[in-house]
């Protein structure tokens, strides 16, 4: 599979994301600069973390006007998978590809630590290979990761099974204490109604090898690869 890893000015998890899919998982990929305007030949897009455009105005607000984001809109509309990680999640929300928004952490602190994550919905390209009882240990690193959506959007997300990941404690319970940023319903990641665009605040690309302290993040990429491969076969 061929991955596009987008690069905006001040993306800083681009190297890690490409390393995870190419060196760790053995697939193809390359960086795609934000001024490019085509995603032809790619099977999946990763929008990595960072502080695109210095987080000016709001996180992700300026990045969505980059030429490459027009191509991402088309890529997503064609049903192809797009994964936004951290700042990538913020960009997807600002671009209207995912509902809701990410606001300042409830604590006002930048939180940089490992958290526990539960995959609460198996029916998606990003979670299909994650065992339902598996608690993922994955790092977060953000100041604006508090997920917000109005009541009707939140109800819709839940009834459609669009909430993919929640912050939980080591026992897998979504408690207030295990919520690092004040996100509504402990939401760490969601997908769109068509299920091919997902975003999450935690960094699975930083947890793909045991030497990094956890390889749990691999399950998210492996789910995506499995989904893409089964689609190619059909």
């Amino acid at each position: 599979m061929n991955f596009a890893v987008l690069q905006f000015p001040a993306s800083n998890c681009d190297q890690d994301a490409l390393h995870a899919v190419v060196n760790v998982l053995g697939h193809q990929g390359r960086f795609v600069w934000h001024k490019e305007d085509s995603l032809d030949g790619f099977d999946a897009v990763i929008i990595p973390g960072g502080f695109s455009y210095g987080d000016y105005l709001r996180t992700g607000a300026i990045a969505r006007f980059s030429p490459i984001m027009q191509a991402v809109q088309k890529f997503a509309a064609d049903g192809k998978p797009v994964l936004g990680i951290c700042n990538g999640f913020q960009i997807l929300c600002e671009a209207g590809l995912l509902p809701g928004a990410l606001v300042r952490n409830r604590s006002l602190q930048f939180r940089c630590e490992h958290i526990f994550l539960k995959s609460v919905e198996k029916n998606s390209p990003f979670t299909g290979q994650i065992p339902s009882d598996k608690i993922l240990r994955i790092p977060i690193a953000h100041g604006e990761g508090c997920y917000f959506a109005d009541d009707s959007t939140l109800a819709q997300l839940k009834s459609n099974g669009q909430v993919l990941w929640q912050y939980v404690n080591a026992q897998g319970e979504p408690t207030e204490q295990s919520n690092p940023n004040g996100s509504l319903s402990n939401i760490a990641g969601i997908c769109n109604a068509a299920r091919n665009v997902a975003g999450l605040m935690p960094h699975p690309e930083r947890a793909c090898e045991p030497i990094l302290g956890s390889a749990d993040g691999r399950l998210i990429f492996e789910s995506l690869l499995h989904w893409m491969e089964s689609k190619t076969k059909n």
Partner: protein, 79 residues
């Protein structure tokens, strides 16, 4: 002519910055104050004339870029 724009968080969105500033003010002895809301102030310089036309354009700019309608409200004047 200038557009003066104020963007504030919606009431439904928790505003930890506002709460923290409120706490700090109370700590300083400013007793009896209510909730504090922290927002943004933007000024955009405009050519003189056609205030009504600019009002429409600034409204569109606020809606599309300067605020995020999911979490923020805006108000502006053209002076």
């Amino acid at each position: 002519m200038k557009a003066k724009i104020i963007v504030t968080p919606k009431k439904a969105v928790v505003d930890p910055q506002g709460k923290t500033v409120q706490g700090a003010l109370e700590h300083l002895g400013f007793k009896g104050i209510g909730a504090v809301h922290v927002g943004k102030y933007l000024e955009i310089e405009l050519p003189d004339g056609d205030a009504e036309g600019w009002r429409k354009k600034i409204d569109e700019a606020c809606h599309k870029l300067l605020s995020n309608p999911v979490i923020e409200e805006y108000q502006f004047t053209i002076e």
